[in-house]
């Protein structure tokens, strides 16, 4: 008897759930534009997933409180339906299906990470749902001919080639000797391709080319080779664990290398938590708060950072800034399309040419943003051991001069 009751209540609960979810959402309800997003709130990407969500929410609140989106003489407000994709590509694709076919969402925001964006893009493409994404930088996203995918960030192959070019420039235009270690995931391998291109362009030579495993926590072997071969530049990319492992072991093994270039330094909180050990590391970043881009909603990077700090209690990583920018792009496109027709919005997105606090945004036919260069910052410490990220390249935005070559450990 008890079991029957339980089953009955379970079935009715499901029925209620279904009935509400099917009827309540459509693309534009009353004065609301409903966007859908699958975000990693649990699982291995959960910290960056939360940064992404905070960025989205911050922009939604700001745009809504500053008058919303004006389409056809009427004002609309943004609203986002979030689902947790558990950092799992399969789940992300399912949720995209669900958002589109059950919840009736007609415009999507991207998830966190290249891998998950790759899983979702075929779904949004199939249904012709425009997606503005802010956290998938892998080059392969932009070579598949997707028509409905737009990324506000620079593609992964551009992350570190500035570093190689800077090194060559400092070497009097002559090629340099590069040692590199990359994790074997879509993103890091794209960063690697960028380095290979840059090496070829500048006549540089790659003398160590190591691949790092997913379970990386020891790269001593690579560093021993670096010690023996003495390259001019060491490039490491393997998300947060790559950055942390490299910084720890370079400091412990006292590896001297004139230039150390990495990704994910701010996600790994290098300058805050690992101070002196991370000093002089060069880091690729999509955004830095000291950049002087401007818009009407967040004013500029510094104001954005201060507002974000007030709202969420921490300094915004670039993952949050680019996520906020995605909403600004959507607003702009809706207003220019002056319609909620998916095709018209898509065409308006493709014609985007604007400046946000995060940077200029203009999409190439493949969907990547071609108008925003990457920035390089260097971890710099003052006498008291307090360390900060300072932008050193491109020169236009630089707030400090690059320290090169990195002083030897024995002289620090």
């Amino acid at each position: 008897m008890k079991l029957n009751k339980l089953i009955l209540s379970f079935i009715s609960a499901i029925a209620i759930l279904f009935s509400t979810s099917v009827v309540s959402f459509a693309k534009v309800v009353g004065d609301k534009i409903v966007l859908g997003a699958a975000i990693s709130l649990t699982g291995k990407y959960s910290s960056n997933g939360v940064h992404t969500q905070n960025g989205y929410n911050m922009a939604v609140d700001r745009i809504n409180s500053m008058g919303g989106v004006k389409v056809g003489g009427k004002t609309y407000k943004f609203e986002i339906i979030y689902y947790d994709d558990e950092s799992n590509p399969k789940r992300a694709a399912q949720l995209a299906e669900r958002l589109i076919s059950q919840d009736g969402v007609e415009f999507m925001l991207g998830p966190y990470s290249s891998g998950l964006t790759k899983a979702i893009a075929p779904v949004t493409e199939k249904y012709g749902v425009p997606m503005v994404e802010a956290n998938g930088a892998s080059r392969s996203l932009f070579t598949k001919g997707y028509k409905y995918l737009f990324a506000v960030l620079a593609p992964a192959n551009l992350y570190l080639d500035v570093a190689i070019e800077t090194a060559v420039e400092l070497n009097g235009g002559k090629g340099v000797r590069i040692a590199q270690a990359f994790e074997q995931d879509a993103f890091s391998q794209d960063v690697r391709l960028g380095i290979l291109d840059a090496a070829e362009r500048t006549g540089s030579e790659i003398i160590i080319d190591d691949k790092l495993p997913k379970e990386l926590n020891d790269m001593a072997a690579t560093l021993v080779k670096v010690k023996q071969m003495k390259p001019d530049v060491l490039v490491v990319s393997g998300h947060t664990k790559g950055a942390l492992t490299a910084i720890r072991q370079i400091a412990e093994m006292k590896v001297d290398v004139p230039m150390l270039a990495m990704t994910h330094c701010d996600a790994a909180k290098l300058s805050k938590q690992h101070g002196k050990n991370s000093q002089y590391a060069l880091c690729a970043s999509q955004w830095h708060k000291s950049l002087t881009y401007k818009d009407n909603f967040f004013k500029d990077g510094m104001t954005y950072a201060a507002d974000f700090q007030k709202e969420f209690g921490y300094d915004p990583p670039y993952q949050s800034a680019e996520s906020s920018a995605a909403l600004l792009v959507f607003k702009d496109a809706f207003e220019r399309a002056n319609s909620f027709d998916q095709k018209k919005v898509r065409d308006a997105l493709a014609a985007t040419n604007m400046q946000t606090f995060y940077g200029n945004i203009k999409f190439a036919p493949g969907g990547q943003n071609v108008d925003k260069p990457m920035v390089l910052f260097q971890v710099m410490c003052d006498g008291s051991g307090k360390c900060e990220n300072k932008v050193v390249a491109p020169l236009k935005w630089a707030s400090a001069k690059l320290i090169h070559p990195i002083p030897k450990w024995s002289e620090r």
Binding site: S47, Q228, T240
Partner: protein, 297 residues
């Protein structure tokens, strides 16, 4: 293939030393596994996750300004009770059952722990800085981080303490008696239930020590447990249950093997080569692995 490791003799020395220091740490984890496998006939898939949890304890001490080296004292203490808790909740229900049931149960615990740690501590990779500096050998051609040396020394100390404890103490004798013949021990007045709980607790405590050392020497992350389980599993099947010198030796052997695989095949095959070795050894020992409980000497 990259033969650099043989071209420069100093790299060979470096690889061997790195491997041995690493292997001692693996051996400590493996010894815990061998102990409870021998006593309770349970293969603990959650071994690596206990290690990581121990690491987080040291990491949090570091965050609150306590030197993470104290973690090797605090972490086993806390982990002992975590171990007893797991035993009371789950393990005591599977201890006399089929080996397969225990694998399933501990696999479940492993998944639960991973997700809980991810939920509680976040998905970031973390580490605790010991600030121990570096030792240079052979004209600074060989570099050993002192944290690695520290972790090897602590592992050896704990292993020695444990051996003495097992030999001399009342509980140690009871554990050994239970491992030899649980029924006979029970008849002779050993409270086997208590012995099982203590064994699982001691195993968890060893994992706690190892975890604290890993947070000082390497990095920790909620999902990094499995490679440690696999390694200790492998060390135990190579060495056999209850063979402490064997565990230590095969641990160091595995460490050196990993380092050389790293140099020869590339870092990406480091863990892969461990799995391959495991398969080879399993095939080799297929007939030798007896299903019965082996004796803990």
């Amino acid at each position: 293939m990259d033969f650099m490791v043989f071209q420069y003799p100093m790299i060979t020395v470096q690889a061997c030393l790195d491997g041995i220091l690493l292997g001692v740490l693996f051996a400590l984890i493996a010894y815990g596994m061998a102990l409870q496998w021998g006593v309770m006939n349970i293969i603990n898939i959650a071994q690596g996750d206990l290690v990581i949890l121990g690491g987080y304890i040291a990491y949090f001490m570091y965050l609150y300004g306590i030197h993470p080296a104290w973690g090797v004292i605090v972490s086993p203490f806390i982990m002992y009770f975590v171990g007893i808790g797991i035993y009371k909740l789950v393990i005591n229900k599977v201890v006399d059952r089929d080996l397969f049931i225990s694998i399933l149960a501990t696999f479940g615990i492993s998944i639960l722990f991973m997700q809980l740690m991810n939920f509680a501590f976040g998905a970031d990779v973390v580490l605790a800085n010991s600030g121990y500096g570096t030792t240079f050998l052979f004209d600074s051609n060989v570099v050993l981080p002192n944290s690695k040396i520290f972790s090897a020394v602590v592992s050896i100390l704990f292993a020695i303490c444990l051996v003495i404890y097992m030999k001399k103490s009342k509980l140690g004798r009871a554990i050994r008696a239970t491992a030899q013949n649980a029924r006979a021990a029970k008849i002779l007045g050993v409270d086997t239930e208590k012995v099982y709980a203590a064994t699982f607790g001691i195993n968890a405590a060893l994992c706690g020590v190892a975890g604290a050392l890993i947070s000082i020497t390497f990095t920790i992350h909620p999902y990094m447990g499995l490679p440690y389980t696999i390694r200790s599993f492998m060390i135990v099947i190579v060495a056999g249950l209850g063979n402490l010198p064997g565990v230590a030796l095969s641990g160091m052997g595995l460490g050196v093997f990993e380092e050389f695989a790293d140099y020869l095949l590339g870092t990406e095959f480091r863990i892969g080569s461990v799995f391959l070795l495991l398969v080879l050894i399993l095939v080799y020992r297929r007939f030798k692995l007896s299903r019965k409980r082996e004796y803990l000497k």
